[in-house]
């Protein structure tokens, strides 16, 4: 496999969807309209924690132009039932209650009613006329408050699950779990150096630039068509059906172009509301969130409290590691603490490990997946502790990691044995990079950090059909959030032996292709790519059969070579090769149109490892941090379209730098987010960042026909720690809290004086 010579894979063609995106023609979630369309708006709770005594919608319904109003009472009771997805499990009862509150509002921004009217303005006016009688309760806004004795309880019915000891009775602790192996106490006793540190990180948002948007129409037969920007059209279909208590086949979902997701569009918010409003009004209903709604009621990932302790011998060998990971889930259980437990020590060879993970509910929006969910904060802890250990032992931070780096055959801390992985290679490439030897000036520091992330396999379907002129269409059901169409087209072109420009990749609706799990878990180029390769091979076999029929030879006398059927196995030279174009032109005469398909559940996803280098300069007067230089090294297995692999790496780094330096949800005492806009929730802008250098390492994934690994998520794992380590070395302080914003860093610098 690794010896295979690729003709298309590894090249950098212009993406097929690019033209529409640079001209403004590409249609995103909010760009669709239908005749007779109404506009929907959501009334949201102004309280972070309140019992809903009653809701009176009569004044809203009486407003001219209002066609429908819905509240929690319009939804069926949904049973607790858990379903796995691309980015963690979903409990449908919680999902239903998150989409529309019933008895209780659990965060500022929780939907309590929705209106459909002839204009946005009338819908907003109607929302103001809905009278909600709230009994305001004390909000729970931090992990400490949630776990305090006598804390207000979010869910009276919730009991802690997992490993003992667990609290009795109602609690905000959804679960506490433990994993580990070996003898941690003995491991620490054998260590020459031990470092233990605690960290706190705030909730942060994915920050996709496109707000959630949906357009739904429902026919007299109750069937709905839903246009929306989502990472998973089949997920929207299944989740909306569950929330509405209707059959899955009554909903068709048409995925639009999607303006960023990063995990935040792996669940439903507006879709069930739009379907229900459309059903009630008999008209199409469009709903688009404002940026404020996006911040208040979608997305974020967990705020955390993490303690990590690691020990090592003088020669650098790690002897033991222990972590307690406490993660905010938001208003409903289900933080990514499970993934954090699995990833926190995954890069390293460790015989003695103990990991504890707590999932805690608070009166904040329910967290959604965010790029390598749970891992970046865990890596912040591990990698800053690793850095301090290296300093204590007088070792180079990369050499110290090389001593302990996991490689093929090592039993991962989360269970399985690693197959071929590229962690050591990424460390060596980072060490060899000129960046690592470049001189540093005063108040400057260099941070090293590593990261690990899985990639999901899951289910994918793909079709490849041959047009009558010999060009091809590749169909998949996984929305393209970062260039996956180009990658899928490259893989089909590789198999078919035609130029990638003759392959048209499209993402189709839920009634036009077999089931696909959502775009998430870095799985599309890996798993859907496998389906595309299989479907293209199906096509190639059919093309060979058509040639065999034409030549009146056996199938094994025809080979497929560079886009042509050639005679082999004793028939060499007896027949002129037939090109794909010729075979396509004769398809009707040789058996009909040619198309291939594949549906599979991919196994053996190959995890991705990265090593990042970050240089910063600290302004000791203001506490401001400037990122001067950044280099990201990552094992991609096989980079199908290297430009978009680099793009994933650069984008993940930028998000990680924002998380490290600027981004945080700021709450007032009542539990209202105080910074629900891009002015005050500051994502990195172009002038905040340097160029982000990338080095792609290729250690092929043995479980993929081309060696592909998922690349999308790993790049956000190391930057939090890479930045923190650089700041620690530049300023001589110890980072315990994100973001490393000027006032916080200034206080640390002044404290150290």
């Amino acid at each position: 496999m690794s010896e295979r010579k690729f003709r298309q894979v590894g090249t950098r063609p212009i993406r097929h969807d690019g033209l529409d995106k640079v001209t403004g023609r590409a249609q995103f979630g909010a760009d669709f309209s239908l005749p007779g369309m109404l506009w929907g708006k959501v009334l949201r709770s102004p309280h972070a924690h309140a019992r809903i005594r009653s809701i009176d919608v009569s004044a809203a319904l009486a407003l001219p132009g209002v066609h429908a109003v819905i509240t929690g009472r319009d939804f069926p009771e949904v049973a607790a039932e858990s379903a796995a997805g691309g980015e963690g499990a979903t409990d449908f009862r919680d999902l239903a209650l998150n989409v529309m509150a019933r008895d209780k509002a659990l965060y500022h921004g929780h939907p309590v009613a929705a209106v459909a009217a002839t204009s946005v303005r009338i819908a907003e006016e109607a929302c103001k006329k809905i009278a909600v009688d709230y009994e305001v309760l004390t909000p729970v806004l931090s992990l400490d408050q949630a776990l305090a004795k006598d804390a207000p309880i979010l869910h009276e019915r919730m009991r802690a699950s997992g490993d003992e000891p667990l609290p009795e009775g109602p609690t905000n602790l959804a679960s506490r779990r433990e994993m580990g192996r070996g003898d941690v106490a003995a491991g620490f006793a054998a260590a020459d150096a031990v470092v233990e540190r605690e960290f706190r990180t705030p909730m942060v948002h994915q920050g996709y630039i496109e707000p959630h948007a949906v357009l739904a129409r429902t026919g007299e037969d109750g069937r709905a068509v839903v246009y929306c920007c989502t990472q998973g059209p089949f997920m929207v279909r299944a989740f909306s059906a569950k929330v509405l208590g209707v059959a899955t086949d009554t909903i068709k979902v048409v995925p639009t172009e999607i303006g960023g997701g990063f995990g935040g569009k792996t669940t439903v918010y507006l879709e069930p509301l739009a379907i229900l409003l459309s059903r009630k009004s008999g008209r199409p209903v469009k709903m688009v969130m404002t940026r404020e709604e996006v911040f208040r009621a979608t997305g974020p990932t967990s705020g955390t409290h993490i303690r990590v302790k690691m020990g090592a011998k003088r020669d650098g060998t790690l002897t033991a590691a222990e972590a307690v990971l406490v993660y905010e889930a938001g208003a409903f259980k289900g933080s990514p603490v499970g993934a954090a437990m699995m990833t926190v020590f995954a890069p390293y060879k460790l015989a003695n490990v103990r990991i504890e993970g707590w999932d805690v509910v608070v009166n904040k929006p329910k967290v959604a997946a965010y790029r390598a969910p749970g891992a970046p904060m865990a890596a912040l802890a591990t990698e800053t502790v690793m850095d301090e250990l290296a300093r204590k032992l007088g070792q180079d931070p990369i050499d110290f990691r090389l001593v302990n780096a996991a490689h093929e055959g090592v039993q991962a801390t989360y269970g399985p044995k690693f197959r071929a992985i590229g962690f050591v290679e990424s460390l060596r490439a980072a060490k060899a990079h000129p960046h690592y030897r470049a001189p540093l000036g005063a108040n400057q520091g260099r941070g090293v950090a590593c990261g690990f992330w899985f990639n999901a396999g899951l289910s994918s379907s793909a079709n490849v059909s041959i047009n009558e002129d010999g060009s091809a269409v590749v169909m998949s059901g996984c929305p393209d959030i970062g260039g996956s169409r180009a990658s899928l087209a490259l893989m089909a072109a590789e198999e078919l032996g035609i130029p990638v420009e003759q392959v048209r990749p499209v993402v189709v609706d839920t009634e036009s292709i077999g089931f696909n799990d959502l775009t998430g878990g870095s799985r599309v180029t890996f798993a859907t790519g496998m389906a595309v390769i299989e479907a293209a091979r199906d096509v190639v076999n059919q093309l060979r059969a058509r040639a065999a029929k034409t030549w009146e030879v056996e199938l094994d006398a025809v080979a497929w070579n560079e886009g042509r059927a050639v005679a082999v196995n004793g028939a060499e030279g007896k027949h002129e090769p037939l090109t794909l174009r010729q075979l396509a032109a004769r398809a009707a005469a040789t058996g009909g149109p040619i198309s291939g398909r594949a549906s599979l559940t991919a196994r053996g996803a190959g995890p991705g490892f990265a090593t990042h280098l970050c240089d910063v300069e600290v302004d000791r007067e203001t506490g401001a941090v400037k990122v001067l230089r950044y280099t990201a090294v990552q094992d991609a297995g096989r980079a199908v379209h290297p430009s978009y692999v680099e793009g994933q790496m650069q984008g993940g780094v930028a998000q990680g730098i924002g998380w490290a330096l600027n981004e945080e949800y700021v709450y007032d005492a009542r539990g209202a987010m105080e910074n629900p806009g891009f002015l005050d929730y500051r994502v990195p802008v172009a002038s905040d960042l340097p160029m982000i250098d990338t080095v792609i390492v290729e250690v092929p994934n043995p479980m993929h026909p081309y060696g592909v690994r998922g690349v999308g998520e790993t790049p956000i794992v190391p930057p939090l720690a890479a930045v923190a380590n650089a700041v620690e070395r530049a300023a001589g302080v110890e980072i315990r809290e994100l973001p490393i914003s000027p006032p916080k860093l200034l206080a640390l610098i002044e404290g150290a004086r």
């Binding site: 640079v22 249609q27 909010a30 920050g207 940026r291 959030i481 930028a654 891009f678």
Partner: protein, 159 residues
């Protein structure tokens, strides 16, 4: 009461009805069906709705629609000349300077305004000019390269 507004959009006369408090962004998208201009925030913080008004780069979400009466509005839809892409559009494609693409129209409109003022921007000047346009996918690296490469090509062409 709706207001009747006559203006010029991408060089062509255009008319629309709007209410006094409607934004230019709203009118471009909902009345004139020019949905290439995107809404990311509606508060002037993200630049996805960038258009040029009488030669000045603005966030169309911060312009009241009646204000454009008798003025010239240029949007992403007017950047290509027929089938010929503007060099910026071509360079964005060649440099893979887009991922999801939602911010791309705003970046191209803003970068075009930059290059019309400053045909030879430094990296720092390009980064500061484009600091009002948010991209969450690319980390800006390939966008900045595309803009600087376009500037270089355009300078070559005029020499």
């Amino acid at each position: 009461m709706k207001l009747h507004v006559s203006t010029t959009v991408n060089g062509e006369p255009a008319e629309f009805l709007c209410s006094a408090e409607q934004s230019l962004l709203d009118v471009l998208r909902e009345e004139l069906h020019l949905t290439g201009t995107k809404e990311g925030c509606a508060t002037g913080d993200c630049g996805a709705c960038s258009v040029v008004l009488d030669g000045r780069l603005v966030c169309s979400c911060l312009v009241l629609a009646p204000e454009v009466a008798g003025r010239r509005v240029e949007t992403i839809e007017g950047v290509a000349r027929g089938a010929e892409l503007h060099p910026l559009q071509r360079k964005f494609l060649e440099h893979a300077a887009l991922q999801c693409g939602i911010c791309t129209p705003g970046f191209i409109v803003a970068a075009k305004a930059l290059l019309e003022r400053n045909p030879d921007p430094s990296e720092e000047e390009a980064r500061y000019w484009l600091a009002g346009n948010l991209c969450r996918c690319t980390g800006y690296d390939k966008i900045i390269r595309a803009v600087l490469d376009t500037a270089s090509e355009l300078r070559g062409a005029t020499r």
